[in-house]
Chain length 201, copies 2
């Protein structure tokens, strides 16, 4: 079974490959590839060998094939619909984020409690009433939720998302969510990033 560190590197490999493909490169040597990634080339070759891709001596890796392979491993060969709760400052910014497309992630619907926001549209995404969130998420079979509500509302919103069938949550609220273990959680914690950063200064 593949080490977590390898899995964690794959999204970066994929992004780098997509750039290389954009530049018209059909092949890339592992030396060149690892240089672009700023990683040790033995590490890169080891990572890729877990997936049966050893490259070809003298030629390297076929960029399109490798990208396709990584997408498939990361379950990115399918489109992931997302629901966003809390269309405030950070929530509305996320609705304009172009980086989601890279991984075939797309916010399908947003929710808020504020009557001034409900019924509006941001970047083509409708803001629905938070009261209807569970029903809409279930009806649209959405598996990924983004939480950008104030900290004290986050746990309740998470519970509702899980109730509606969400299996993965990306949480921006600075609070530790309590979720069933089969629901995966990713936390974006900007203050923690800064605190860890300044420790080394």
């Amino acid at each position: 079974s593949i080490p977590k560190e390898t899995i964690d590197r794959l999204p970066l490999y994929l992004r780098c490959l997509e750039k290389i493909i954009d530049e018209g490169e059909v092949n890339i040597s592992s030396g060149n590839f690892s240089e672009k990634l700023n990683l040790n080339s033995a590490q890169v070759r080891k990572d890729l060998s877990y997936f049966g891709d050893f490259g070809t001596r003298g030629v390297g890796y076929e960029t399109e094939t490798l990208a396709k392979q990584i997408r498939s491993i990361l379950h990115l060969d399918k489109k992931w619909d997302m629901a966003l709760a809390g269309a405030g400052n950070i929530g509305s910014a996320l609705l304009t984020y172009t980086g989601f497309n890279e991984g075939d992630f797309e916010v399908q619907v947003a929710f808020d409690k504020d009557p001034d926001l409900i019924g509006k549209e941001i970047n083509g995404v409708n803001i629905e009433d938070a009261e209807d969130m569970e029903k809409i998420i279930r009806d649209q079979d959405i598996k990924l939720g983004i939480i950008t509500v104030p900290a004290k509302a986050a746990q309740e919103v998470a519970d509702q998302m899980v109730e509606a069938g969400v299996e993965g949550v990306l949480n921006f609220a600075p609070t530790l969510l309590d979720l069933p273990k089969e629901v995966k959680l990713a936390q974006v914690d900007i203050t923690k990033e800064l605190e860890q950063l300044v420790y080394y200064l």
Copy 2:
């Protein structure tokens, strides 16, 4: 020397302690503390023992003292001024983020190229001309920079920040920055978080 995993947990300990202090608790047992943190209590005691804090049998830890100690270890007993480059969607959201106060981080000034933004103020922070960024960062002796410009502008902005004396960079642009090794980098990569998340679904 203290393991990185311990350092990485300290910001969470601090946040939890601040909540506990808010609730008026003067002491907390390691069992109670680890339960609130959702961590193994032996782990918590081991982490804190690196800093000479072994708690008191039967009493636990003094909340204020421990918080003060952790702040000091994390260099949060000082205020960290920050500069933000790129006052667009995500940049302007960050200017309203209340979570920065928790760690005594404060955005002092923002920069942009867009004449419609230059001269405006968001949440008390002035948006200055990106042309003046190096000078202003140097004059204000700012050591932390936040990068929220488009990917293709990120490297140049990072170079200018480093030139102006910045020692730590928090980068939101989806591109790998090339920085001198004495400059610390934290990357917020939302798409990578989502890609790592769905791997486990």
